[in-house]
Amino acid sequence: MATVSVIKIRDILLVAVPSDPDDFTVSELQDQVLDALQRYNAKGLILDISTVETVDSFFARTISETVKMVALMGGLTVLSGMRACVAVTTVQLGLSFDKTLTALDVDRAMDMLSAAIDSMETGL
């Protein structure tokens, strides 16, 4: 059983998804992320999937749901580092990550989230 580590950087949570996540790991990931979000009162979540080589419908659905759950708890999620081959497979299998925000890498995801959080705080 692969363990998922959730790292907090300021207001943002960073999760590196294991390379070959099984169904249990993905579900576990969801629980841990939501727990951490509440515990640290984080505003944003970066799901880095740069090591993930294959995706299936369960993975796609769970990630989409997690994004919605995070939003309900007032957080913003960015999916970062998807590999080209994974993107092709996802499109061809007709899988959907809904309107999840994406970024090329963790750096850009951090930029996006920081900007969004800043505007949220200043705007509100």
Partner: protein, 520 residues
């Protein structure tokens, strides 16, 4: 008898008794006397031998007992006697009846007997059994009836007898032929001599071919069947030879040969390697093209396994077995190995062929050398691959911006390749913006649009954005008419406009240099 005294014998001579003894001593002829009405008055030993009746039992009987069947009808006997009485003599040959009931052929002379005053006192009949002669004549007639020229040859090679057919085939009469050398009537006398000598040596020859020359110069091809014939003691008398005129057959054979040669020349003229295969898979015939493609001669090939000349013998075997099973195959691909090791790609068309009775005799297979065609196909494949590569160059036009001009029709295969290359380049160059220019795409249909939308979705998943540029008026119209929704995608009509959007997304700005700078 020789012990009898001269006196006694001289007293017998001249008497009526001596005449009777003379008549009686003749055993080869029947000498019979009839009274004017046809009743038998005297009977000799010869008559007894020929007709089988004893003197006592026949005396006084009517001479009709010598005949049977049709010989008795219509008063023929009375007519014979009448004729004999009128002319003094009547001779004929015909069937007579033996006492035992059997028939025999006899020559009969009936003479009338008259007293010095000319009164008819009876008839004398002299008859001889000609049955043997009759059967010889019968045999002769059979020989003459034969359409095959028949000839008998003596041990020294002279013709001893011929039949009518021999006369007509040689154009010479029987008398001309008999006594001449048998061999002199043939184009090669020596061969004829060897022929009859072989018969004398071996007892017979069969189908001995000779060419017979007619007196008018025509030459007939004949086959001789000959055997020796013997006398009753078993000694060889000569050769009996029967010829069969095969000139017609020879002509037909030659016509057939010519036809065969013609067919063969057609087969040989074929540039496609042709081969015939027996049911056991052995090669039974090949043409010149097969010789050159295999690099082996006809004699090397015939009788060997067809399958052994291919890189995959099992496949070759399956091929001809399929032909025997289904009657034919088309475009059966095989690789032929030449004697020098080179491999030639061929396609086989093959079908079964049959004898006159419709029985399958073997497989006739024609190969087509497709090495050239295969090379061409390979070249075309390679070129289309290159074109595919050429047609989707993904270039980095700015830090963080890649651009790809699409040229030509987008099919699934191209889209797949285009998508992969674009995504790879985005990741490689870490570019958040991709410009996809469709200026060079001639038309867009639902499927092409679907391909584009898929690509754009995939780019988004990476965390980058696509700006679709080069949307010409015609394309814009088509997209709207087809009801394709591209509302979530940023689109521009020109690449320049798209580049501005890209720079804007990257929070960059193009600023015109100030006049001051220009002046520096």
């Amino acid at each position: 008898m020789t012990t009898q005294s001269d006196a006694k014998s001289s007293s017998i001579m001249g008497s009526e008794e001596s005449f009777r003894l003379l008549v009686d001593s003749v055993t080869d002829y029947a000498i019979i006397m009839l009274d004017p009405n046809g009743h038998i008055a005297s009977w000799n030993a010869g008559a007894e031998k020929i007709f089988g009746y004893q003197y006592d039992e026949i005396l006084g009987k009517h001479y009709s007992c010598f005949y049977s069947g049709e010989s008795l009808s219509d008063g023929l006997l009375e007519k014979k006697l009448k004729l004999a009485a009128e002319n003094g003599r009547f001779e004929n040959e015909g069937w007579n009846r033996h006492k035992a009931g059997s028939r025999f052929w006899a020559n009969t002379i009936i003479s009338s007997l008259r007293d010095p005053l000319g009164n008819l006192i009876g008839f004398a009949i002299i008859a001889r059994d000609f049955s043997e002669r009759k059967s010889a004549d019968y045999a002769r007639s059979l020989i003459e009836a034969s359409l095959d020229p028949l000839v008998t040859i003596s041990p020294d090679g002279k013709i001893t007898d011929v039949n009518g057919a021999t006369e007509s085939i040689t154009g010479r009469s029987r008398t001309e032929l008999i006594g001449t050398d048998f061999c002199e009537y043939f184009t090669v006398p020596e061969q004829a001599r060897e022929g009859y000598q072989a018969v004398f040596r071996d007892g017979q020859v069969r189908d001995y071919p000779l060419e017979l020359r007619n007196v008018d110069g025509r030459v007939f091809s004949v086959l001789y069947n000959a055997s020796v014939y013997r006398d009753e003691n078993g000694a060889v008398i000569g050769v009996f030879a029967a010829a069969r005129d095969i000139s017609e057959r020879k002509l037909a054979d030659e016509a057939l040969k010519r036809a065969t040669a013609y067919t063969r020349s057609l087969i040989e003229a074929s540039l496609d390697p042709l081969v015939t295969i027996a049911p056991d898979g052995k090669i039974t015939d090949v043409n010149g093209a097969t010789e050159s493609i295999t690099g082996r001669s006809r004699s090397e090939l015939i009788g060997t396994d067809f399958s052994e000349y291919f890189t995959d013998p099992e496949k070759a075997r399956k091929g001809y077995q399929q032909v025997f099973r289904e009657g034919m195959v088309r475009d059966y691909p095989l690789e032929l190995r030449r004697a020098n090791g080179r491999v030639t790609s061929v396609l086989y068309n093959a079908s079964v062929y049959r004898d006159e009775s419709g029985e399958v005799v073997g497989v006739f297979a024609a190969a087509r050398d497709i090495t050239e065609r295969k090379l061409t196909e390979e070249r075309i494949r390679q070129q289309s691959r290159e074109i595919l590569d050429l047609s989707t160059p993904v270039m980095q036009v700015w830090q963080g911006v890649v651009a790809v001009p699409l040229i030509g029709t987008l099919d699934s295969q191209r889209t797949q390749q285009f998508m992969e290359r674009l995504l790879e380049r985005i990741v490689e160059t870490n570019s958040p913006v991709a410009l996809v220019d469709i200026m060079g795409v001639p038309t867009i249909d639902t499927q092409t649009a679907q391909h584009l939308i898929e690509t754009i979705s995939a780019v988004r998943l990476l965390g980058a954005q696509v700006v679709l540029t080069g949307v010409r008026p015609a394309i814009a119209q088509t997209l709207v008419h087809l009801g394709i929704d591209l509302s979530g995608i940023t689109t521009r009509s020109s690449l320049a406009a798209g580049l501005l959007v890209a720079l804007d997304l990257l929070k960059l700005q193009v600023v015109r240099k100030s006049d001051n700078h220009l002046g520096d």
